[in-house]
Amino acid sequence: MLSPAHLRDLETFAGFMIPASAHYGVPGADDPAIFADIARSLERDTDDVAAALERLAGIGGKPFADLAADARRGVADAFRAEGGPALTALIRVILLCYYRDDRVMRSLGQEPRPPFPKGHVVEQGDWSLLDPVRRRAPFFRKVP
């Protein structure tokens, strides 16, 4: 479980990473429903996410949420340049919750549903494309 201070930083970082967009009609990753999903999905990554938030605070000299909006970019970019498993855990949990939100999926032209049982349609395609290969002589290597 993250501390309230860490949750505040996480929410701020999520909104920085993926802000709402009126142009695309999508919420930001700090949207209440999406952030609630993020907070309850930390599970095995909780410690790594906490470490990532600590690192952001370390780079910025103060908690990410307390940085001026125009200072966050530099801190985030510095952390992104460092990389590492803590950063990976942080961005993964934000993205995996954001890109399963119904509003976001619909904005991408996707149906908000699991793949099963409806599945998807994939066209057969033009099998005549294979004709040049069909005409090719066998080329596997013969063995003694």
């Binding site: 954001y98 049982p117 066209e123 395609g125 494309l129």
Partner: protein, 536 residues
């Protein structure tokens, strides 16, 4: 104390299931011990909205990340390629993409043809009828007539080309290079009680539709009906030997941690190229202080992993994305040795559809392609559904320093020492991989991918799907662990039938050949049983 069985198989995956089914017609008492559980179709991720997220949790391909109670940890810190697997009925066929090529005839004769490694003690022609039998049992889709292979006829038609496949086909035709619809262990029609593929698009972590041929729904129903017993949550600690040097059975732990001894007339090990040497090395005794059947010292050595390189790019048109099985085409243009190149042997290019929305977002963020902030949404919409990718599967030649040993500290939840992997890629493999990546970029360019979007992951870190070579077969007991029909040189009632016995790796996904070999060994056992020469 349990009743003695005639045949004890350890592991219910690709090879264990095939052998169990084949041996069932002997009417012997056959028991298979599996450390995992049955996986219900309703458990698979594609049943729920969190289907992609579970790739990073209980259906992660890396057992260290997945960390189920039924998994064992692997110390893979000294390997750039991490081992991936699944533990449950069906083994790693639960967790594979079902890309299903065979080894080529030349793969069995690399010493003769190219002067490297060793020839196999079996050949393609010997295995051919077992390939066909296995294709029938697993239910394979594909198209006869591939000029890269001897003629064979998959029982079902191929997976659809789709938009991505047509784009690849046009590109490869432009280059004049080979491509062909893959043999795939995915049903494209009603088959043996399985429903046809409906393009869930998320095949690797299990198929809720039951179209993907994992052995829990192919071989096992037939084997169980024929009287084979399958005991789950039975984690084997060691194989025991008697004073005569013959295996007497195994010690295993049940789900409650209770230790059992299961006696057997013969033991067949089918735990994959990491699990098998781990078990053999854990089976120490006065007679075998370095692990059972290890007089050659080769148990655990010569680990081969098929280093993969992923090369991808983005086109302007929307393609299939994650709709449909992720792999449906291959190119074998660069499979066979070409003396003009600076490496021996060759590789397969497997051609991919795209990814789901979350995987696209994560991988593109980690690659630095997807920005944070205002521009995120615009860039993301140019990526999702526009990806074309391909994997180079390099042939990994055997080297003794690539190995599985027992970790001195790490143990599984039953207290059994865990495997440690020490692995490096050879110069030959690096050159081969570089060649494959360069050719992949040419294909992407021919397919119209924006050169600025091309990305490479080489090797793929979580790419240790194919585990081979750690109990190799051969006719010389000093240079191999099992003989030409899978029987241990040292212990005449002990057999190994999984990818461990491979002499070389070829450059294709191994499941088809692993299973054909398992059927071949089962057939050899039956013939020698009939002749009363099995343990001679």
């Amino acid at each position: 104390m349990h009743d003695k069985v005639d045949v004890l198989i350890i592991g219910s995956g690709a090879s264990g299931a095939a052998a169990a089914w084949s041996l069932a017609d002997t009417k012997m008492r056959i028991l298979c011990l599996e450390q995992g559980d049955w996986v219900k179709p309703t458990d698979y991720p594609t049943n729920g909205r969190d289907w992609e997220a579970r790739l990073f949790a209980d259906f992660a391909i890396n057992p260290n990340r997945r960390a189920r109670e039924t998994d064992y940890p692997i110390n893979d810190r000294n390997s750039p390629i991490k081992v991936v697997n699944f533990n449950g009925v069906g083994g790693s066929t639960i967790m594979y993409t079902a890309h299903y090529p065979r080894l080529h005839p030349s793969d069995f004769r690399v010493k003769t043809l190219d002067g490297v490694a060793d020839d196999w003690p079996v050949d393609y022609a010997t295995l051919d009828p077992f390939f066909a039998e296995n294709d029938r049992m697993m239910g394979i889709s594909g198209l006869a007539g591939d000029p890269a292979y001897p003629l064979h006829q998959p029982p079902m038609p191929p997976l659809p080309l789709g938009k991505s496949g047509m784009r690849f086909g046009q590109a490869l035709n432009k280059l004049g290079w080979h491509w062909w619809p893959s043999d795939s262990a995915i049903a494209t029609a009603e088959y043996d009680g399985r429903s046809p593929c409906i393009n869930l698009g998320h095949c690797t972590p299990g198929c809720a539709q039951g179209a993907k041929a994992s052995t829990d729904i192919t071989y096992w129903p037939h084997a169980l009906r024929a009287g084979v017993e399958l005991r789950t949550r039975a984690r084997v600690r060691e194989i025991s030997v008697g004073p005569d040097g013959m295996a007497t059975g195994v010690v295993y732990f049940d789900a409650e941690g209770v230790e059992h001894f299961q006696p057997a007339e013969m033991v067949i090990v089918a735990c994959n190229g990491v699990g098998t040497p781990r078990l053999m090395l854990n089976s120490r005794s006065g007679r075998f202080p370095d692990g059972i059947a290890n007089s050659s010292g080769l148990v655990g050595k010569n680990l081969m992993l098929h280093p993969f390189a992923l090369t991808y790019g983005y086109v302007a048109d929307e393609l299939d994305g994650n709709k449909g099985p992720p792999l449906n085409l291959w190119s074998q243009e660069f499979y066979e040795t070409d003396p003009v190149r600076d490496f021996v042997r060759g590789y397969t290019l497997q051609l991919h559809r795209g990814t789901g929305s979350i995987v696209e977002a994560i991988t593109s963020t980690l690659a630095g392609r997807l920005p944070w902030g205002e521009d995120h949404h615009r860039v993301y919409r140019r990526l999702l559904g526009h990806r074309l990718g391909m994997s180079t599967i390099t042939e990994d030649l055997p080297e003794e320093h690539n190995r599985v040993t027992l970790d001195p500290v790490l143990k599984d939840s039953s207290g059994i020492p865990a495997p440690r992997i020490d692995y490096t890629m050879s110069d030959n493999t690096r050159k081969m991989m570089a060649h494959g990546v360069a050719r992949s970029k040419e294909i992407l360019a021919a397919a119209g991918a924006d050169p600025a979007t091309i990305g490479v992951e080489a090797p793929i870190m979580n790419g240790g799907w194919h585990l081979m070579g750690t109990a190799r077969m051969g006719t010389d007991p000093e240079r191999s662990v099992v003989n030409e029909w899978g029987r241990s040189h040292d212990v005449k009632n002990l057999f190994v039938i999984d990818g461990s016995i491979w002499v070389t790796s070829g450059g294709v996904n191994p499941t088809s050949t692993i299973q054909a070999l398992a059927l071949y060994i089962a057939d050899a056992i039956k013939q020698r049983l009939a002749a009363a020469t099995l343990f001679d």
